[in-house]
Symmetry: C2
């Protein structure tokens, strides 16, 4: 399958680290040294998860290389839902006004993007779809608490849309060579390392260290695995696009993989942790860098726990 | 693909219609005539969506016709999440302690069960799984408001687990002959007919009539469609298992399809609307009725909107 087009939407409102100094005493230096985050974006009061997603799709429609009417599958991804009934994917369908196609929303926390792509792979394999739209969005600030000194400063909002075709549409298409996904819900503190229980409270980062260690371990291993099973070495890797949870995690994984730092793409410095949209946004932001034939690995880890990787050839 | 085994879990606590008379003045007669509901089950304070799902799975493991270690895919479904990070599917993985298999949670509101089965079909088509566990659970009472005279009395809690194999395991397996799913998120009042916005409030049934009319229309049409494309007539239909939203919807659909009332299976009378678990629970409750060769259609409609059907041969 092929990524024919992609887009993103980032809210305008910038929240610098100084915001937290005023509210809970965390300094710019402390946040920066622990997370790599300098600022993050926050949705405004009229925005929500579904509207962030719709904005990303509308942006993508501007240069879509095929008519939008061809879209015959919508897979939405979020763990910060605005509405669990008129879900993110159904809100996209409403905005696109395309009838009677499979529409589903999925979640594996921060790793959702790769799972959503794998579900598309399944619909293509069944011959039940040919042109899929994958939209990932997280409105983390709707569920986070600025007063929380453990995790309140981590979160940003954002969305990204991927237009995925079963067959190549143009020479500019990227080919999805392979996808691996897996739950690790039975590992370490998966059941309460980080959680979001809507009827109780927002995000709770109870065992941040366990999340950190498992993210470093799983993103490294799944990257090695997907390269190996496609007969590629680390030298063949042009760019590495990890889930944007923490710049220290990205650096740790890059170091374990012995990757030069410039090959690991990051946006957490200015977007914060945008959840399952982070790595998807990074792909869109950096598309001008990618050259024909480049091998890109997207590697994700989600609280819960969950992990995955996608190998893309430009 | 084949349904090799199934199970359910229903909480013990019974809430009769009289409960609402005390709280908001709705009478037993009024609720019964409008919805067909006499009583519903409510999870206790220690239970949550994930624990309801785990109970259904544990029950299923008792007579599972293959070792649980063979399970290589878990798809969870709910629109009333306990935790959006350690999702329902990840909680199941935690309880089963099976490592490194695809694990995802999905939602298309009340129609989720059929979408979850279709995702399994996709993994089987990709040769990425052979033994899937589909678990649907809704803890509606965690999000509903007993004071709400529009919809507070509708909701019940429950869960069901389906053990699905790519190849026939025993002569008792049911074969899944076909699945249709589609969003109808662009139809009528799909965007606000009924909604659940966790950061705002619980369930709101804003346009119940629009939901009712679309449920009657879509469940009838998708049943006709799935029979037609499998060269079956309504006379070939042994049992019809609709989403359990309202007994009047079930009767309306059965009437449109000219089905004898006894062919349409219902549990809403004593379970209420158990969300995406309702039709799955009904299949498990009635399995003693089904004879070899029976054709069963499960037809679903979800707020949001969304619809689907699954044709099963016993």
């Amino acid at each position: 399958m092929f990524i024919s087009h992609l887009s993103r939407y980032i809210p305008e409102n910038i929240v610098p680290n100084a915001h937290f100094t005023q509210i809970n005493g965390l300094t710019d230096e402390w946040i920066l040294s622990r997370t790599g985050i300098q600022e993050r974006r926050k949705a405004n009061l009229k925005e929500n998860t579904n509207l962030l997603a719709i904005q990303a799709v509308r942006k993508g429609l501007e240069n879509l290389p095929f008519p939008k009417e061809k879209i015959d599958l919508i897979v939405g991804g979020t763990y910060t839902p605005y509405d669990t009934i008129h879900t993110l994917a159904h809100a996209i369908q409403y905005d696109l006004n395309i009838s009677d196609i499979p529409v589903i929303s999925v979640s594996t926390a921060c790793s959702t993007f790769v799972n959503a792509m794998e579900i598309v792979q399944g619909y293509f394999a069944m011959n039940k779809a040919n042109f899929a739209l994958v939209v990932v969005a997280d409105h983390n600030t709707a569920y986070s608490n600025d007063l929380d000194t453990v995790g309140g400063h981590l979160w940003g909002d954002g969305a990204s849309a991927f237009f995925v075709s079963k067959t190549r549409q143009t020479e500019q298409d990227w080919e999805v060579m392979d996808i691996i996904t897996a739950g690790a819900g039975n590992v370490g503190k998966a059941n309460e390392g980080v959680f979001l229980r809507p009827t109780q409270e927002g995000f709770v980062m109870k065992y941040g260290k366990d999340v950190f260690l498992n993210a470093c371990q799983y993103m490294t291993k799944v990257t090695q695995d997907i390269l190996k099973r496609n007969n590629l070495s680390l030298n063949d890797l042009s760019y590495f696009v990890p889930h944007q949870a923490n710049l220290r995690i990205t650096k740790n994984v890059a170091q374990q993989l012995e990757l030069p730092e410039e090959k690991a793409l990051s946006n957490i410095q200015y977007l914060g942790n945008t959840g399952c949209a982070g790595c998807a946004i990074a792909l869109d932001e950096n598309k001008h860098l990618f050259k024909k034939g480049d091998n890109i690995v997207v590697a994700v880890f989600g609280g819960g726990y969950s992990y995955g990787a996608m190998l893309v050839k430009v």
